[in-house]
C-alpha cells in the first residue's frame, strides 16, 4: 500500500513538468498550427542556460528560470519569424521535415558546443527530502511541481482573462476572421510560438536539476509531449493536464511494478499514443 502511494506520488510530481512541456507544444500545434518536432530542443536550451549560469557564476536555478523564460521566448520568436512563418502555408509534410531538421541541427550544435556528457546542476538543496506519514518527497521535484502548477495557472489566466489571451484562442479556432476584426494574426502567432518555446525552456531549467542537461535530453520530452497532446485531443488545453497526469502515473506504475520496469518506462508514451488512437477509431466506428 505504501509502495503504491509512493509510486502514485512520484508520478504526480513528474506530471507538473510534463504538463508544462506539453502545454507549450499544444500552443504550437493548436494555435500556430505547426507540428514542432524541435519542441524538446527548446527544453534542452533551457537546461543548458541553467547549467551554464550555474557552472560559471553559481547562479541558482530559481533565478535561471526567469532568464531562460525570456531567452527561450526570444529564441522561439526568432525561430517563428525566420523559419516557421515562411512555411505556414506549405504542405504539412514539409513543415514537419523543417522542424525535424531544426531538431537535429540544434542537437548537433549543442553537441559541438558542450560535448555529449550529461551535466547536472546541483544546488545545495538538490538532495533534500521531506517526509510525511511514511512517504518521502524529493524537495526539488516537489518545488518543480509547485512551480509548474503556478506557471500553468498563469498561462490559463492569460488565455482566459486577458484580451491578448482571447485573441490567441481566437486564432486557434479560425484563421480568417481575426484579421477582419482588427487583430494582427502574425503577432499573435509570434507570441504563441514564443510562449510555446518559453514553457519548454522553463521546464528545461527544472530538469537540469532533476535530470541533467545534455544535447539529446529534449528528444524524449518531444515524444512524451506529443503523446500527451494526442491523448488530450487537438486544441484541448485543459485536457493536457489530465493527459500529462495519466502518462506520468502510467510511467511511475510501470517503473515500480513491471520487472525490469526502468527499461520500459521510456516506451510508455508509445503505448499511450497507440491506445488513444485505437480507442478513438474504435469509438468512431
Amino acid at each position: 500500500m505504501e509502495l503504491l502511494l509512493q509510486t502514485l506520488l512520484n508520478g504526480m510530481l513528474s506530471a507538473g513538468v510534463y504538463a508544462l512541456v506539453a502545454s507549450g507544444l499544444a500552443l504550437a500545434v493548436g494555435v500556430v498550427g505547426i507540428v514542432n518536432f524541435a519542441h524538446g530542443e527548446f527544453l534542452m536550451i533551457g537546461a543548458f542556460i541553467s547549467y551554464l549560469l550555474f557552472a560559471s557564476r553559481g547562479i541558482d536555478p530559481l533565478v535561471s528560470l526567469g532568464v531562460a523564460a525570456v531567452a527561450v521566448f526570444l529564441i522561439g520568436a526568432i525561430t517563428y519569424y525566420g523559419l516557421i512563418r515562411p512555411v505556414l502555408s506549405a504542405p504539412e509534410l514539409n513543415q514537419m521535415l523543417l522542424t525535424f531538421g531544426l531538431s537535429v541541427l540544434l542537437q548537433n550544435l549543442a553537441l559541438l558546443l558542450f560535448g555529449a556528457d550529461t551535466r547536472v546542476v546541483s544546488p545545495p538543496y538538490q538532495g533534500s527530502t521531506l517526509s510525511l506519514g511514511g512517504l518521502s518527497f524529493g524537495g526539488v521535484p516537489l518545488a518543480a511541481f509547485v512551480l509548474s502548477v503556478l506557471i500553468l495557472l498563469g498561462l490559463y489566466w492569460f488565455l482566459g482573462r486577458t484580451r491578448l489571451g482571447l485573441a490567441v484562442r481566437a486564432v486557434a479556432q479560425n484563421r480568417l476572421a481575426p484579421g477582419l476584426l482588427g487583430i494582427e494574426t502574425q503577432r499573435v502567432y509570434l507570441l504563441a510560438f514564443g510562449l510555446s518555446a518559453a514553457l519548454a525552456g522553463v521546464a528545461g531549467v527544472m530538469l537540469s536539476v532533476m535530470l541533467y542537461a545534455s544535447p539529446t535530453v529534449g528528444f524524449a520530452f518531444t515524444l512524451k509531449a506529443f503523446a500527451i497532446v494526442v491523448m488530450a485531443g487537438l486544441g484541448n488545453l485543459r485536457g493536457v493536464l489530465w493527459a500529462a497526469l495519466i502518462l506520468a502515473l502510467a510511467e511511475a506504475l510501470v517503473s515500480t511494478y513491471v520487472p525490469g520496469g526502468g527499461g520500459w518506462v521510456e516506451a510508455v508514451f508509445f503505448l499511450v499514443i497507440f491506445g488513444t488512437l485505437t480507442w478513438r477509431s474504435w469509438r468512431r466506428a
Partner: protein, 234 residues
Amino acid sequence: MKLEVHNLSAGYAKAQVLFGLSLEVAEGELVALLGANGAGKTTALRTVSGLIRAWGGSVHLNGQSLAGISAARRAKLGLGHVPEGRQLFPLMPVEENLLLGAAFLAWEHRAAGLEYVYALFPRLRERRGQLAGTLSGGEQQMLAIGRALMGRPRILMVDEPSLGLSPKLAEEVLQTLAQVRSEGMGVLLVEQNVALSLEVADRGYVIEHGSVVLSGSAAELSGNPQVQKAYLAL
C-alpha cells in the same frame, strides 16, 4: 467617410476574377452588390478588406489609399467585413465572439458595444453563454454581423447574410442592416436574394465576370428588364 473602389483587378493564383471593378459606398447608404454565382462578389469583398492582394486598381477609404495595408489595419480604419461562411469562433460563447470584434478598441468601451449589439439582436443576449458552434443558422448570422458591429465600422461589407435563413429571418436581418444604415453607417450588401435586397437598398451594382455591367438606384434596377429577367424571375 467613403469607400472608393476604382478599376480593381484581382484573382487566385493565375485565375483572374475581377476585371476593372469600380464602385463607391458612402456613409449612410445601403448599396447592393448583385451578380450570378461566380461573378466575383465575394472576391471583391475579400480584395477590398485585404484578405487577398489586389493585382491592380485602387481602393480608397476616406481618401486614403489602402494599398499595402493589412486587413487588420483596414478594420481599425473603419472597414467592417462579415465574410462568406460567417467564420465564427465555434468553441467560444456568443459573448466572447462579440468581444473579439472589439479587441482593438479601447477595452472600456466593450460593455457599451455589447449593449448596442444586444439591443439590435435580443436573441444574442438570451444566448450569450452558448457556444457559437451550437447556434442555429440565423443566430450565427446575427452573431457574425454583431461581431463586426462591435468594431464600430464606418463602412460595413456583408456577404450573403440571408443564406440558409427562412424568408422571415432573412427579412429581419436585412431590416437590421437598413437600421444601422439609418444610423449613419455605409453598408455594402452582397445578396442572392435580389428582390429582398433591392427592397432595402438605396442603390445597387450588378456585376458580371468581375466588372460592373449595370448600376443605379434600387428603383431603377428593380424596373430594369434585364434585372427582372435574370434575377427577379418576372
